[in-house]
Symmetry: C2
């Protein structure tokens, strides 16, 4: 119902408000730092010589609140034309897509902040996002309702062009919110990584949306852009304060907010598989972490890299393996992965002689194994470049390659 011209005007307005929002975030964070520290919302920066100085935590709250304000103002402008020109029918369906998206995002912001303050138990963290995505699924059902999946060419002779997976599709979407949130949440721990990966992934999805603006699904991608521009602008401002050396930590507030925003645009925009393509480093990190998450391999409380004070560099951290308690097949698998240079097993020397150590299973530590110890700022930049490269790969998979298979 929105003309291409109308979309361009709206997006321009959205971009302007987003930039203002970004500036607001950048200025508000230093102004509220004292408030956060006073409230005890702070963390120690473990990869620094001075481990005692406090950095304000949960600054995602500022990002999220400004994001909501920008969206409220934008909605006033975008739908304002209908107020001035009330002869046309108001686009209720489109409006409720925005409302439900913001409702889900606001719920996750609340949940994330509550988690930062209260350290919620796991069951709350899994149940609440699922309930929070209910209205989103309802709007999806009402407005589009497609639960068909396009089949790869290989399977078409047996299954047909598309397959309607019905309720399974809703379960998949509800899980998407939980999945996005948690994969970002565990790919974290060094200065600038949480906010940086969000900016890169957000910009990649936005680029994809811009390309698709000329497709038949233009409206979905326009909708996604309207959420992503303020999201990228406010996250970028957060990155500015979160990058090495961090003057602000993002908190679960930000990772929850960020994960839900990706899930929302993917669901309403109906491009959830493509969004997952832009999450390749996060997904790899999640799969790589599984042995520790499920305690097949011992998992220490913190898995972030170890700070080497002498070099002022970070290096891969390790977990000690108790060989007698390990299942034989896990140990055998680890030895194969060691050969493939995907994990690093090491016999201790000196006082630890005889003990077996394994690097903590995160993409951050794996990168350090390959590159050797490096400066924390350099490490974040390396990982962000990896994120950019994987986005480039995602575009190759999505366009030239997908044409081969779909």
């Amino acid at each position: 119902s929105v003309t291409p011209n109308g979309m361009a005007v709206s997006l321009a307005i959205n971009a302007v408000i987003s930039v203002v929002g970004g500036v607001m975030v950048a200025r508000t964070i230093p102004a509220v730092t004292f408030m956060f520290l006073k409230a005890g919302l702070s963390g120690r920066d473990l990869c620094k010589p001075d481990k005692e100085s406090k950095v304000p935590e949960s600054m995602g709250l500022v990002t999220g609140c400004v994001f909501l304000i920008v969206m409220f103002l934008f909605l006033g402008v975008a739908f304002g034309q209908h107020f001035l020109n009330p002869t046309k029918l108001f686009p209720h369906a489109a409006f409720s897509e925005y409302l439900t998206s913001l409702l889900c995002i606001c719920c996750m912001l609340l949940l994330g902040f509550a988690d930062d303050v209260l350290n919620l138990k796991w069951r709350y963290k899994l149940v609440l996002p699922t309930v929070a995505s209910l209205p989103l699924l309802m709007v999806y059902y009402v407005n589009l309702g497609s639960t068909t999946v396009v089949m790869p060419k290989l399977l078409r002779p047996w299954i047909g062009l598309t397959l309607n997976i019905g309720p399974l599709y809703y379960i998949y979407m509800a899980m998407l919110a939980v999945f996005c949130t948690n994969t970002i949440n565990i790919y974290a721990g060094i200065n600038g990584l949480e906010s940086g990966q969000t900016v890169v992934a957000g910009a990649s999805v936005a680029l994809f949306n811009i390309i698709e603006l000329s497709s038949s699904q233009a409206f979905s991608h326009y909708f996604s852009l309207c959420l992503l521009l303020p999201f990228i602008a406010t996250s970028l401002a957060l990155y500015y304060h979160n990058r090495y050396p961090a003057r602000a930590f993002v908190g679960d507030t930000f990772t929850y907010f960020s994960g839900m925003t990706f899930a929302v645009v993917a669901i309403i925009g109906h491009f959830s598989k493509t969004v997952l393509l832009f999450f390749m480093p996060q997904i790899f990190n999640f799969l790589y972490s599984i042995p520790q998450l499920f305690r097949l391999v011992p998992c220490p409380r913190h898995r972030l890299p170890r700070y080497n004070e002498k070099l002022d560099k970070v290096e891969a951290s390790e977990a000690e393996i108790n060989e007698s308690e390990m299942r034989w097949w896990v140990l055998a698998a680890l030895k194969v992965l060691h050969r493939l240079k995907l994990v690093h097993l090491r016999r201790g020397t000196g006082p630890d002689s005889g003990k077996l150590f394994i690097n903590n299973l995160t993409l951050i530590n794996l990168t350090l194994l390959w590159s050797g110890p490096c400066h924390e700022g350099t490490l974040t930049n390396t990982l962000l470049i990896l994120q950019i490269l994987s986005s480039a790969l995602a575009f190759v998979i999505r366009y030239p390659l997908a044409d081969l298979f779909f």
Copy 2:
């Protein structure tokens, strides 16, 4: 579009989920008390012999989150019939009323919790609720858009039956949210009052809605009831833990949540004047507080009653007046009010001799002046009975009296 029969079924389902929600709140509060205390979200109970023991603060977070969960589940049921029967048009307008209401309430819950944790500055507390009510005003505009006010009979010869006050009406509605929130917030301080007044006012509005279900505006009142039933149930469960002797404090989280819920039902239900009738004690307390809020009279940091340990009773607390710094007309006015027994001026004796004292200007202290020192639990009960009586008066004003003037 909803039939009376459909409404009755929906309301019955809503009531059942609400009761389950209330039980959930009642059980969750003791279970999370330790978490809240550990996070430092606690306050001292100043009207008790043991001033050091900590009571968990911000329990409104539990109430608010369960309220949202109940509403999400209810929406699934209420609009679910349209999913099973997709030939009928989906009632987008009604659905977006729910979405925007929940969005506003969720924003206020977040703001209130942030205030409890961070102690926000006043400008944030005034600006953010106003921005948060923007989508609500948009939905109001789109779905009903009436900005006319019915004139009292006396004025009709000059102005006519109704007056369209246009944009002023929107400003009034935006202010309603800020007003409801803050009047509840300052009528607080003794065990059980915040949650108790909310339950009484909520039940009064719900009763009004039930009466109006047979009117031409049935749908608005049905909508209001769907929000109020879970609101009352979850608040009642909070009252159970908040009443004397308090095992939980409600926090700004609850007063913000509560204020916005009243504003939302009043705006979408288009009965904002009637809601204000049920807020008479709160409005009186606000007006009575004005001299202290605007610093015409000295205002100490806490205005709650003073605990008298010997009697185990509370009595009106006082502020010291520096006569030389007072404007003459304020002092004259206070003397008149003293004659009317609306304030209590007192010359100090003993070490304070010569000094002038005035009771802190809250309805709580005024009640104590009239009743004499009393037990804290008794005081709350007295104030809640006052709230019930004022609700009864509100019904008299709304029905028999309004017919005379309108």
